[in-house]
């Protein structure tokens, strides 16, 4: 039993290190990427290409004074950033980063480096945990005793509830074709080709579903064009206006963690996970496991760049446009995808 716990612990530490490492890298990519898109130089003084800028940023944020404004509700005010980070980190344990090639280390199966390989409700677990992320925003906004923060929190809750529906309905098609909630089986169901020439990734047969899911994920991660909870130009900094130092860093970090988990989810659900297009690799042994992880990581990295690209390209929605899009466009489209999958499956096209 202790050996099993140790294996789980090692996997947890590995996953956490990988996930937390993406945060400084993404901060750098975002700052340099935005400079590239806006024809600026961006941070280029600290280290080659400004690569050590995130380190300096972290040191700055950690050494700043922690300010607790007068009038806040102390317990909730401190709890909100904690919830944000905990939830962003704990969704990660069900995501398969590599294929289970039957590898064993000291008699213990590696299971493709998933922390919880036997979680039958994999996808539902991720949705259950990530649906709680809105509490951190709501509580931060409410406990800050600041009208801008409160407005941000209220917007966040309405937005999260509206887009969660579209997000959940848009993956029903994926579950129908895979016949399982297990993320590894969902990836396995996407091997081979579809209609003779396309890779059998869900994005091709279920294009509408993929689009709705990606848009809903953007709304759930509060990224532009859906960043109304923090809308800098109208709400100062929205729900984290009153946060400084490490507490602000926690919110900042959780945004990037959510982005990474969201990219991994899109990869698993719609981009075939570790499957390469047209090439059917017999993944086996250590080389196979490493190759699968590399393919998966490249797909996630490209999606992360897509997040940055969209943020610096599109303007923000107006609040009524956001609500109209969520209820009148996204949900019908998600239902359409679900109907199409049902019809196609019964006719034998999928």
């Amino acid at each position: 039993m202790w050996a099993d716990l140790a294996v789980i612990g090692v996997k947890l530490v590995f996953g956490l290190v990988v996930l937390l490492t993406t945060v400084p890298i993404m901060v750098w990519v975002e700052r340099r990427g935005s400079a590239l898109i806006q024809d600026r130089l961006g941070p280029n003084r600290v280290g080659p290409f400004g690569l050590f800028q995130p380190v300096i940023d972290v040191v700055k944020l950690l050494t700043k004074e922690v300010i607790t404004p007068a009038g806040v509700k102390p317990l909730l005010y401190i709890l909100a950033p904690v919830i944000a980070v905990v939830i962003a980190l704990s969704t990660f344990i069900a995501i398969p980063i590599g294929k289970d090639t039957g590898l064993e280390v000291f008699g213990h199966p590696v299971d493709g480096l998933i922390v919880a390989p036997d979680l039958n409700i994999g996808l539902l677990y991720i949705f259950a945990i990530s649906s709680l992320a809105v509490y951190s925003v709501l509580l931060a906004g409410w406990s800050s005793d600041n009208k801008y923060a409160l407005l941000g929190g209220i917007r966040a809750s309405a937005q999260a509830i509206s887009y969660e529906l579209a997000m959940t309905i848009s993956i029903v098609g994926v579950l129908m074709t895979a016949g399982s909630l297990h993320l590894q089986q969902i990836v396995d169901a996407q091997g081979g080709v579809w209609m003779g020439f396309l890779p059998h990734w869900n994005i091709f047969p279920q294009f509408i579903g993929a689009i709705t899911f990606v848009v809903a994920v953007f709304a759930e991660t509060n990224r532009l064009p859906f960043d109304l909870p923090e809308a800098d130009s109208e709400l100062v900094a929205g729900y984290h206006t009153e946060y400084s130092s490490i507490r602000f860093a926690a919110f900042y970090m959780s945004e990037y963690l959510h982005m990474t988990v969201a990219s991994a989810l899109i990869t698993v659900l719609f981009l075939g996970g570790w499957n390469l297009p047209w090439i059917d690799i017999p993944f086996s042994g250590w080389p196979g496991a490493l190759l699968a992880m590399a393919v998966f990581s490249i797909k996630v990295a490209m999606l992360l760049w897509f997040f940055v690209w969209v943020r610096w390209t599109l303007p923000r929605f107006r609040y009524d446009q956001l609500m109209a899009l969520g209820w009148k466009v996204m949900i019908p489209l998600a239902v359409l995808n679900f109907l199409w999958v049902g019809v196609a499956m019964s006719l034998g096209y999928m």
């Binding site: 039958n120 409700i121 539902l124 677990y125 949705f127 259950a128 709680l132 709501l138 209220i154 809750s157």
Partner: protein, 167 residues
Amino acid sequence: MVSIVFLVAAAIAVISALFVVVPRNPTTNLLSLVVMFFAMAAIFAILGMDFLAAIQIIVYSGAILVLFLFVIMLLNIRRVEAFGSGRPIQALLGTLVAAGIGGIVLVIAGLLLPVAGGVLPGAVDLGTAIPIGRALMSTHLFAFEFITLLLVAAIVGAFYLGKREEE
């Protein structure tokens, strides 16, 4: 091991359930309810009902309680009436009903659990999504469809009432 986890989860559930009704601050009540749903989800998971555990969190903690919190913040409700104040008859009746339900649960648990070895009969096979989906789409199809109809009626009714007040 399992029984320790169960005892901890059950203790958290009972204590947080008390915090749902006793304190006067509505936000405290609501957040205790979130904690209680988590403890309940843990108990479901121990019983092998992973699906119910996830659905419990998605539906209640993730959607319904967020709406409640939204309303509390929007209306800025500062305090509610004290526990059991003002309406002695209702308080007495409520206590009696709660005690009655508790007694029934204890009797059922006492009668059934020693026989089935700690788990309710038939509970083990219903854990994951597939058996629940099968049951909803075959044995309980009529009830399932009827509930959807009921929900549609409720939505239309709420919409009608909201519109009428506006005019």
